[in-house]
Amino acid sequence: MQSEDDGSPAAAIAIPIELSRLAAIPIRTKRSFQLDPVLHELIRIYNAKYQDCQYCQNARQAVAVQHGLEEDMVSALGHFETSDLPEQIKAALRITSALASNPALLTDQIWADAGRYYSEQELVDIVLLSMHTTASKTTITLGLDPGKEASSRLFYPTETDCYGTSEDLSEAIAGLESRGIAVRPQAEARI
């Protein structure tokens, strides 16, 4: 539930689109969080599952899929500790998991282990993204989750009705396109 602020009550309770863009939703831009697209998407979907947001957990960032996100990785999120997910993904998800349940459980050991794989700036981004994606609590609580059918598809950064426009976003989209990454919706690409 995102919105440009047009002064309406709906906009007042929505997440500002620019805030989500700065959280690298739908893609990384020069001023946004700077996480790997696959890790970013796994953190987003982990929280969607934890908060039980049907809409959020059934969509996939097309760019993340093109960077290697696979459905068995998504399936593993519910039991990531015992899964085959790479250790560096598990290290980040431990932070996300603590944020979602009880942040006081984020121990020095968890932080230090994650620091073996990520820079401190990336750790800050992991915390802030994990926090950002808990915002779906409002949608769920107000009964505004549009549901699985509304979102079971790939989503692209060029969908201006969802992500609006900005100079940073346009620049990032152009950068992806120049590398051969598909950034525009394909005909009825459903998952």
Binding site: I95, Q121, V124, M131, K137
Partner: protein
């Protein structure tokens, strides 16, 4: 002391850590301040402090929302917050909203239609919507503050202009 070592400049650990993503910081705080300003300030502040207690955010617990202080929120009442279900300091409306806040923090997906209906006996639909949005940003902020282990600030952060340190609240 915060667990983040390489910090941005700023007078508080909030500024120093969140300042590492300064654009996000400024816009988040704008949304935060707007979102908490739409409801009954005393109720919002009680919910904010209860969230901070639950997620163990020392940073949040060290601040007071000045509109709530001006509206009459006392230290006696904030001190009694952990005992809100039985303390005479709290009204039935406050108890119901604090119970709802706890559900929101602990597992919002488990909130039932009956739980919402109970809150709606003491809030209008509009008040309920704004309370949910306020709970969302306060919950997010307190979780991050706890995760970063932010220390209580020596001064009120410039991004939180409607807050006071307890000593200022007593003055």
């Amino acid at each position: 002391m915060t667990r983040v070592i390489n910090l941005a400049p700023g007078p508080t650990e909030l500024d120093q850590v969140w300042g590492l993503r300064d654009d996000y910081y400024k816009l988040f705080m704008e949304d935060y301040n707007k979102s908490i300003g739409s409801g009954d300030p005393v109720l919002v502040e009680l919910c904010r402090l209860r969230i901070a207690q639950l997620v163990e955010s020392r940073f949040d617990l060290a601040l007071r929302y000045s509109p709530a202080v001006r509206a009459g929120l006392t230290d006696e009442k904030t001190t009694a917050l952990p005992r809100y279900p039985t303390s005479d300091e709290f009204t039935e409306r406050e108890r119901i909203c604090l119970e709802f806040t706890e559900q929101f923090v602990i597992q919002s997906s488990a909130i039932s239609d009956e739980d919402v209906a109970r809150v709606m006996t003491v809030l209008t639909p509009e008040e309920f919507i704004y309370l949910c949005k306020a709970l969302s940003v306060m919950d997010q902020f307190a979780r991050a503050s706890s995760a970063f282990r932010l220390e209580p600030p020596p001064v009120v952060p410039a991004t939180m202009p409607d807050f006071l340190l307890p000593a200022q609240a007593d003055a």
